[in-house]
Amino acid sequence: MISRSLKLMAGLLALAVLGGCVSPKTVDYSAYKQSRPKTILVLPPLNDSPDVKASYSMLSQVTFPLAEAGYYVLPIALVDETFRQNGLTTPADIHQAPADKLRNIFGADAALYITVTEYGTHYMVISSETAVTATAKLVDLKTGTTLWTGSARASSEEGGNNSGGGLLGALITAAVKQVINSSTDAGYPIAGVASNRLLSAGHPASLLYGPRSPKYGTD
């Protein structure tokens, strides 16, 4: 009895270890592969969290995973200024902008619509957790077809580094901590990890590699 349950546990453990990189989720990439976007326009994220910093904290950290995945990412702050000059000052307004306008002005193949659903620190009795959750949708600007959707969460309370962000995420967090005083904006480095987890290529259900990556067409 005991040995049987031990065997079962060992089996489960082996599965968990082997599981690591494998996800049971399958994604239909047919529209994405047909569209083959080269340039991505990231719109300022909608913010469903109570923290006003969420949108721009997240927005300022989306370029890394997307560009490293092989896409050209339209310059974040400059794009935001162009929207403002044209009277679109809130993420909600910008998310309503017509696709053909976005394509004509920015020359983008696809737009990324992000919503931040959780951002900030929960204080508990003996500890506190800073967490960021976001969802994203990649839309073809010519056809209006949704090419990909995803969501990711990152938390200060995660153990180990076997998560989607992996070593890269840890490195970014470390680098970011030196620049930003995390006591005033604890969500910022966590948003960086969430962004990396949400938008990097090369893992199950992720974005596909773009044309500037040597791994383009391999996934």
């Binding site: 690591g20 990189c21 080269k38 340039t39 721009y56 904290s57 927005l59 300022s60 950290q61 370029t63 890394f64 560009a67 490293e68 092989g70 896409y71 050209y72 990412v73 339209l74 310059p75 974040i76 702050a77 400059l78 794009v79 935001d80 200024e81 162009t82 000059q85 004509n104 002005i105 920015f106 020359g107 580094n161 076997n162 992996g166 070593l167 890269l168 490195l171 970011v176 620049v179 930003i180 910022y188 960086g192 090369g202 893992h203 500037r212 990556s213």
Partner: protein, 123 residues
């Protein structure tokens, strides 16, 4: 360092980093990022003078040039935006053109910005 000690140490470090890398292919990147993303956040927060932001990005460009790698997409365009807000139009134009040269995909947008800059209807 001791010649006989350094090899096992290096092997250990390499196997360690391979283990850490796990599913990822490692920290090798397509671009040299330096402080681009934190500087974009600084721009949005608006707490640091634009001049200081531009200086930081220019300093990092020298580092990038010395390694022979490329600045990431948007880096030069962002620097152009800073020069625009400082009224340094010549430098703005130069940065937008560099962005277009490095990343022809930015052509449509850079041309739009340069055209508006020329007609005085800046941004």
């Amino acid at each position: 360092m001791n010649k006989y000690l350094s090899w096992p140490l290096m092997a250990l470090a390499l196997s360690g980093s391979a283990l850490l890398a796990g599913c990822n292919s490692g920290p090798k990147t397509l671009y040299q990022w330096e402080s681009y993303q934190p500087q974009v956040y600084e721009y949005f927060k608006g707490e640091t003078p634009k001049e200081a932001q531009a200086e930081a990005l220019e300093r990092d460009l020298q580092k990038i040039a010395s390694t022979g790698k490329t600045a990431p997409p948007g880096y030069h365009a962002h620097l152009g935006l800073l020069y625009l807000s400082m009224g340094k139009d010549d430098q703005m134009v130069q940065q937008f053109r560099t962005e277009k040269t490095l990343f022809p995909e930015s052509g449509t947008y850079m041309d739009f910005l340069l055209k508006n800059a020329k007609t005085g209807d800046v941004k």
